[in-house]
């Protein structure tokens, strides 16, 4: 099965609020972090929100990409 391509607008709906799952994008892939204790209600360490591309934010984060890529990939992020 081919993965669907997600636009940034679509990604923004998966913000962990009002019962929506929490999705985040990293390097072109969309990960489902809903199950993570550290992404409760679509928020992470106060400063980060679900429904966004966090590729640039990870450069300043106090952890590596290993903590993101362990989550299931649900979509591919559109380049637009």
């Amino acid at each position: 099965m081919r993965a669907r391509v997600f636009t940034r607008e679509e990604l923004g709906r998966y913000n962990g609020k009002n019962g929506m799952p929490s999705y985040i994008a990293y390097k072109g892939m969309v990960y489902d972090v809903t199950s993570s204790f550290l992404w409760k209600n679509g928020r992470h360490q106060v400063l980060h929100g679900a429904g966004k591309d966090l590729t640039d934010s990870l450069d300043q984060a106090s952890h590596g990409s290993d903590l993101i890529v362990k989550f299931p990939v649900v979509e591919i992020l559109s380049k637009d």
Partner: protein, 183 residues
């Protein structure tokens, strides 16, 4: 609340409400870890478990000290602890360090302990990065706690066979870095 203190931190460009929320979440992580480590410690028994009990106890006491040291800074900056203990538990910056399914599996116990410490190391590195050169007192506190969390991580990591910690056990005293905030 210390009005000028808060004003100085705001003027440095830090979002104080966000910083306070981070401090409260990390205070929750410390107190809940103290609780969960109590359960882990009493289950560290037998030939393998007894060898780890001492450092688990030191980490447990020092995590409680971190909670005690964080609380005054939260209130100085105009924050407060949640009145509901259950709510406090659920906003923790780190997942619960729960007892593994098989408490006789010492490696599983060590993995719980080291992951809790690694979460704390990431959390205080994050606070240090946010406050460096801006909020000197929070930075000093977060850095002191970070020093102890790094030592805890390296102790448990050593027992998991990941390499030497380079440390010796504490000799009687606890919190060599944080104790100045507890006086």
């Amino acid at each position: 609340m210390a009005k000028v203190t808060r004003e100085m931190v705001e003027k440095s460009g830090i979002n104080v409400d966000q910083l306070v929320e981070l401090l409260v979440k990390n205070a929750a992580a410390e107190l809940t870890t103290y609780y969960y480590y109590t359960i882990l410690r009493v289950n560290l028994i037998g030939l393998e478990g007894e060898g780890i009990k001492e450092i688990a106890e030191t980490a447990r006491i020092e995590d409680r000290n971190h909670f005690e040291a964080l609380v005054p800074r939260i209130y100085e900056l105009g924050g407060k602890l949640p009145e509901d203990m259950k709510a406090f538990h659920d906003i923790s910056a780190c997942p619960p360090a729960g007892l593994p399914k098989d408490p006789t599996d010492i490696k599983a116990m060590l993995n719980v302990l080291v992951e809790a410490e690694r979460c704390a190391v990431r959390g205080y590195t994050h606070i240090c990065n946010l406050t460096a050169g801006k909020d000197h007192r929070t930075y000093d506190l977060a850095q002191a706690i970070l020093n102890e969390e790094i030592e805890h991580e390296s102790w448990f990591s050593e027992f998991l066979g990941e390499g030497p910690s380079g440390h010796f056990l504490r000799r009687g005293e606890t919190s060599p870095f944080v104790s100045k905030f507890l006086k």
